[in-house]
């Protein structure tokens, strides 16, 4: 009965989503207040039914109702309750329901916190969100029903994929989807502005906090995913440039460009069409990611079980949503460049270069990810595009960003002096140079990548600190830092920390595969790893062989590590559980291989990973920056009491139309 109720709730949610889409859009077009008023109640009602459906599926998992096919495939009577809980989004059907749930929550938040916006504008925003929700509900009901029964019910379930039985899985998808789906808000605002013809800068100001929050969640989601891969896959890598990772990285790159271009458009009125386009792109790439992960067009380490029918449906949906919105863009986007003019050296130029590089990076990732399909389509021969390609291209494309980033805050809007900014940044350059030389002199033969990482991180970090100081000295108390500025400082510091982590760990980490008999020691640098043998261990739904390694440094024991090799009882899958000792400047990481030879010897993999934590620490700082910036009260000034400095609400008449280069103006 419970699963049938769940399915019924989904059907009701679909009906309400359709109402939420159709009626308010018509209402806004005709100026019909009654139809416009449908939007908010429909959002609330849809959310109630989606939450009900999600709760009922969760209940089926917790109560172990194996007559539900999805539960039977992804749970098991021995599975601990918290993994039964997170198992809800452990595979395709349930994760889709999570997607819909998060969209419903975002919709409710938009409906609740936007009472001061014009009614017809909000009707269009909620209508667009309703359309997206309806599409996904239809997708679920037609191709991926999580409530389908299997009769007769099996006595027990197959079990959740062991790799997913991890705290990382509890957090990773919800955070990632909150980010993905959150871009739908900026998207809906952009489409609403296009449909309503209100192409002034107000929609940008209203959508900025939503974009920042979505971007911050996406940053967190990707960071958790990376951290999870680092310690569960047992390979010690933190990013594999796998198609599924790229699917989440492309919206992030475009989202990063978007939050920067929104700043320009909101403050100066420039790049309006480009900002609209980026808002459409960011969400389109989220949808594309959903397609790539669930359609089976690419091989990946962790793709969902696939079915061509699903691929066809998402592709059709993608065609309607993205094609439709780009058509609306083509018809309604402002034809003339608006906003204030600016000089060659100005913050506008700096942010334009930022946008160029991030957009190109996203395009590069898209090209590399889809190249195998392109190769098949054009008979170019089958190739594998992997980490060496992506890493090389990405570093190349991000080089200008790293070099120019510290200049950004020092450059004024409209017109700036490069020499003045450079003089202010001189201490950062000197500091970075000196520290890098010192590191080279002290540590000896460091790889160039590690030195470059140190230099780049200090250049960015010191540059931002210098800006914070200049602001402290230059502005009156109370007006020194706006939350927006603090967010920028925090996120850019995060970039510095991230760059240091990436380049140092990539160039100086040590990896050894060794055969160890009990009592044997392996020396790595100043560290000594002692293997104390393997014994049996047991978990709730697995049996394991657990090794013990003691790590000594300078004669002192600094860690005892217990890596496991688990055999899951129900489906006899084997999973290695690496053991690690995290540290701010160094992670120690060991994984157990196979027994080799009869003398109790085992193959053991040992990693020493300097500064690897800085990668996620940097990402967390970026996330924090996104949240801080979103909290700026300025974004919630709805009445046109104070126009943003210099931004005119009418299309600027000072410039001639520019048919040639309009697309990015």
């Amino acid at each position: 009965m419970i699963p049938e109720l769940g399915q019924f709730a989904l059907i009701l949610a679909l009906v309400l989503a359709l109402l939420q889409c159709v009626l308010p859009l018509i209402g806004a077009q005709r100026g019909n207040a009654a139809l416009i008023a449908v939007a908010r109640p429909a959002v609330a009602g849809q959310a109630v039914f989606v939450i009900t459906a999600f709760a009922l599926l969760t209940w089926s998992f917790l109560s172990q109702d194996f007559s539900v096919a999805y539960v039977a495939q992804h749970s098991n009577s021995m599975l601990p309750w918290f993994y039964r809980f997170s198992g809800v989004w452990g595979a395709h059907e349930g994760s889709l329901l999570l997607w819909i749930l998060i969209l419903a929550i975002w919709s409710v938040a938009v409906a609740a916190f936007s009472h001061k916006l014009p009614d017809d504008f909000m009707a269009r925003v909620l209508g667009v969100l309703g359309f997206i929700s309806a599409g996904f509900l239809l997708f679920t009901l037609l191709t991926s029903n999580p409530f389908a029964r299997v009769l007769p019910a099996p006595a027990d379930g197959i079990d959740l994929n062991p790799m997913l039985q991890d705290p990382g899985l509890i957090m990773h998808p919800p955070m990632l989807y909150t980010g993905y789906v959150g871009f739908s808000v900026a998207f809906a605002f952009a489409i609403a502005a296009l449909l309503g013809g209100e192409l002034d800068v107000r929609w940008v100001r209203w959508s900025r906090p939503w974009t920042n929050v979505a971007w911050a969640f996406l940053t967190l989601g990707i960071a958790i995913g990376s951290w999870w891969a680092y310690y569960t896959l047992g390979w010690g890598g933190w990013w594999f440039w796998d198609p599924v990772e790229n699917a989440s990285f492309m919206p992030w790159l475009v989202g990063t460009a978007l939050i920067h271009s929104q700043a320009v458009t909101e403050k100066r009125g420039s790049f309006r069409a480009w900002t609209l386009l980026l808002a459409i792109f960011a969400f389109s790439l989220s949808l594309l990611g959903t397609f790539l992960v669930r359609s089976g067009v690419l091989t990946s380490v962790h793709a969902f079980a696939t079915d061509p029918k699903r691929g066809v449906f998402i592709l059709a949906f993608l065609a309607v949503v993205v094609g439709g919105s780009l058509l609306v863009y083509a018809l309604r986007a402002p034809k003339v460049a608006g906003g204030e003019p600016f000089a060659v050296v100005s913050r506008e130029t700096a942010l334009l270069v930022n946008n160029l590089m991030f957009a190109c990076a996203a395009a590069m990732v898209l090209l590399g990810t889809l190249y195998p399909i392109l190769g098949d389509a054009l008979s170019l021969g089958r190739v594998s595009v992997g980490p060496p390609y992506f890493a090389f291209m990405f570093i190349l494309l991000m080089l200008p960003v790293v070099v120019l980033l510290p200049f950004g805050p020092f450059l004024h809007w409209r017109s700036a002096e490069l020499g003045k900014a450079a003089r202010k940044l001189l201490p950062a350059l000197a500091g970075a140079g000196l520290a890098t030389a010192l590191a080279w002199w002290l540590v000896g033969d460091l790889p160039w990548k590690a030195l470059a990482g140190t230099a780049a991180a200090l250049w960015i970090g010191l540059g931002i600190v210098l800006f914070a100081f200049a602001r402290w000295r230059g502005a009156a108390a109370g007006r020194r830092y706006t939350p927006e500025m603090l967010g920028m400082i925090c996120a850019h510091l995060g970039v510095a920390v991230f760059v240091a982590g990436v380049l140092i760990v990539e160039s100086t980490s040590i990896e050894r595969d060794v055969r160890m008999v009990p009592g044997a020691r392996v020396e790595i640098g100043t560290l000594s790893f002692q293997f104390d043998g393997v014994h049996d261990a047991r978990g709730p739904n697995f049996s394991a062989q657990q090794g013990t390694l003691q790590v000594f440094e300078g004669g002192r024991r600094i860690a005892t590590l217990s890596p496991q090799k688990r055999q899951y009882l129900r489906n006899s899958q084997v999973q290695t559980e690496a053991a690690l000792k995290p540290g701010l400047v160094r992670d120690l990481y060991v994984a157990l291989g196979e027994p080799v030879g009869g003398d109790g010897a085992w193959a053991v993999r040992i990693y020493v990973k300097p500064f690897v934590r800085w990668i996620w620490l940097g990402a967390l700082l970026m996330m924090l920056g996104g949240f801080i910036a979103a909290s700026d009260r300025r974004f919630r000034v709805y009445a046109a009491t104070r126009k943003p400095a210099g931004a005119s609400d009418e299309p600027a008449a000072v410039e001639p139309p520019a048919p040639g280069h309009g697309a990015r103006a």
């Binding site: 796998d242 060659v344 060496p388 050894r512 084997v574």
Partner: protein
Amino acid sequence: MTRAPWRWLAAFVIACLVVTRVPAAVDPLPFKDHAEEVRFQNLAKQLRCLVCQNENLQDSSAPLAADLRREVFKQMQAGKSDAQIKSWLTERYSDFVLYDPPLRTGTWLLWFGPLLIVLVGALVVAATIRKRSLAHRNSAPPATPEDDW
């Protein structure tokens, strides 16, 4: 092979999962020093495991990957260069085995595509900046001092 490879594919995937999906291919090989080990690791990470999903040779635990690692190691001992080892592999398994696709007609777009995108983008950006800066030179300076933020 055109009519429903699904059944076979499913069996293949299951075989992959059950037989070879032992994560973390820990494979101690008798390297003569650490430099050789690092060279081996770097090479193995540029090679794709041909059996299972998207994994490199270093991390894959498929039996074929283990065989290929041994073979790469043996050739390294025999004094072959990385390029020679790679071409030995591509003679048997095609360029598909390389994660770092070689530059040839079929990969021209892959390697120069991003450059092309950057160039086109940079032209548009430069044109925009030029246009706006000309307007800036012709416009009067703002009457009120502007706040930066």
